[in-house]
Symmetry: C2
DNA sequence: CTACGCGATGAAACCGTTTTCATTCAACAC
DNA sequence: GTGTTGAATGAAAACGGTTTCATCGCGTAG
């Protein structure tokens, strides 16, 4: 009479039924080639008969590998990061890894808490968005001996490896491009900059470009807003009101840019004749809009894929790639500017 | 001389440094009230000094609780499910749970594989999208003794608990509503129906409504497409070509509807004068569009939140709620129809 | 004075795997 | 016939916690 007759099968039970030792069952599962064919088949038969599912917690604990990778993004609601996550899982999943996703809501403290949780769960690697983090978390990561990937930006002083593109350059070059198109009074619709290196760098890139152009009144043509459609609308209105002479607006995110274009439709402002609008992301809807959105294409999916590949390379002992990988970006001229 | 001087601190080490037994450390972490104040503070001091992070794998294994909940959605790229995930984590995260997210890519077999992986990782509960699943997975779940939640639809025969709304009714009622608005030749732009209970039910709802209306040619006004913006465009073109007399199109998803509206803008078809368009989702962009999109508001976030609450109630031993929870939907009339 | 209950603590068993090391046995070389 | 080798297998020791049960004082009721 069992203590708990409904209890799940353990490896021990499978071993017993197959008339082998527990070790052999473990080998059948993890290094089948090391087990004689006959034995292996006998064990597999028992495994299937009982729908045996090994306990990965126990396995991970013993092997000190969890086959889990932690990913912390600001929000999963924005499809930007969802694309990166998709890219990551396209590489890691076939390799047997599972993603553990957390969203920091753009809050470094929450990010730090997530880092702790994930370390506690003994992830095999950690992927963070951006290059500025809570000091405590930073220290923790530096001493934890696991691969850490920062993404979606570049930095001269990465924790471990950075994979992304230069937000500064992306914004700078788009601004210069707009100037090259003949726009002379360019406004900037940016994200909230507190504690967010990507938006900070983009704004800096815009200002740097304006400086090069010789426009020293650019500070007065900056509006900051959270990344959502309605804010794009209110943002563009604010910008237009703030400096009526504006002939182009560069939004540091497609969400804002699309929101702005839609608002222009409502206001009956001709885009780009009266007001040109450019975005940054090349989100899926950018090309569909009328007028279609001029924007900067970012390596959203590629960032994830590349991180996955670098990680696998490291796990397999192949030399780690460079510590900083710049995946670049590309200006996509369309109708809106 | 240690074997590995860089090795992370274990509970044993903390205990030793604090001059207590390992058990006491464990209690300080999990049931602090059971430890004398003085002892507790001494232990906590050591813990903080060394930035000790307990090994949750070991903890989960011993306690037989992982504090992880598995969630399987068709795709995380679509913000629909991202909203649900947000709702879920808004409830579960404060309770100390972590989500383990997997995307099935609308493939039951992949879903089944994910179910196995998650069971293997000993999640405390499992959340699935939809109500039709791979038979093997279904069997596995029925015998696994953990809470299982199906969501985003209803069914008379749930595995465990279903939380969602009636896709059939949502489509049916929107169709009837369109008819009530005076549209007489209504087309349907739906998702691919294979193996997807939500799209299947929506299409059935549309047909049921057309039947009630007395329109028996509706089958000829159905176009199916994957859920993305471009497909909304090609879909509406196909529909218009297939039956030029069409005066309204009901898209079973806002992505398709938005894609359709944008295509109409390009084609210069007046919406809703020449062609009315209605969607289903109330996605964030629906209200921003010009014309704004008439659609069906779904309890996206609420589904997640409610599942979280039901799960916690069960964990805390409170009686489980009803096995089927209908969160309803709401028709949102706007400008496009 | 003794028995009892209770708060605080610890020893030992256990959770279900992987890893390391040893053993067995058959094939093969000399 | 005797080592030598290598494939196949298993015993035992981790892995780092939690749970159960026992013990130790100490205040208090009888």
């Amino acid at each position: 009479m069992q203590k708990d007759p409904l209890r799940q099968f353990r490896m021990r039970d499978i071993a017993q039924q197959a008339g082998v030792s527990l070790v052999t069952v473990s080998r059948v599962l993890n290094q089948p080639e090391k087990v004689a064919r006959a034995t292996r088949e006998r064990v597999l038969k028992v495994i299937h008969e009982h729908d045996y599912i090994p306990d990965m917690l126990a396995g991970s604990m013993a092997s000190r590998r969890s086959f889990a990778v932690g990913v912390i993004v600001p929000t999963i609601t924005n499809s930007l990061f969802a694309d990166t996550i998709d890219g990551l899982s396209s590489v890691l999943e076939p390799a047997g890894y599972q993603l553990m996703i957390g969203s920091s809501r753009y809050d470094p403290v929450r990010e730090g808490a997530l880092v702790r949780t994930m370390l506690s769960r003994r992830v095999d690697a950690l992927v963070l968005t951006g290059t500025t983090h809570d000091p405590d978390a930073h220290k923790l990561l530096a001493s934890a001996r696991l691969p850490v990937f920062e993404m979606w930006n570049l930095t001269p002083s990465p924790i471990d490896t950075v994979i992304g593109f230069s937000n500064f350059e992306a914004a700078r070059q788009m601004t210069l491009w707009l100037h090259g198109q003949g726009y002379r009074c360019i406004g900037y619709l940016g994200g909230l900059t507190e504690k967010n290196d990507r938006t900070t760098d983009r704004e800096a890139g815009f200002l740097a470009a304006m400086d090069e152009i010789g426009d020293d009144a650019a500070d007065g043509r900056i509006v900051r807003a959270p990344f959502d459609f309605p804010s794009g609308g209110t943002g563009i209105r604010a910008l237009k009101q703030q400096c009526p002479g504006i002939d182009a607006a560069f939004a540091a995110s497609d969400v804002l840019a699309v929101g702005a274009v839609l608002e222009c439709q409502r206001q009956n402002w001709q885009v780009p004749q009266q007001l040109a609008i450019a975005g940054l992301d090349d989100s899926i809807i950018a090309a569909q809009l009328t007028p279609s959105l001029t924007t900067v294409r970012l390596p959203r999916y590629e960032i994830g894929r590349r991180i996955g590949e670098e990680f696998l390379a490291r796990v397999n002992g192949r030399a780690a790639g460079p510590r900083q990988i710049d995946l670049g970006f590309e200006i996509v001229p369309r109708e809106s500017a």
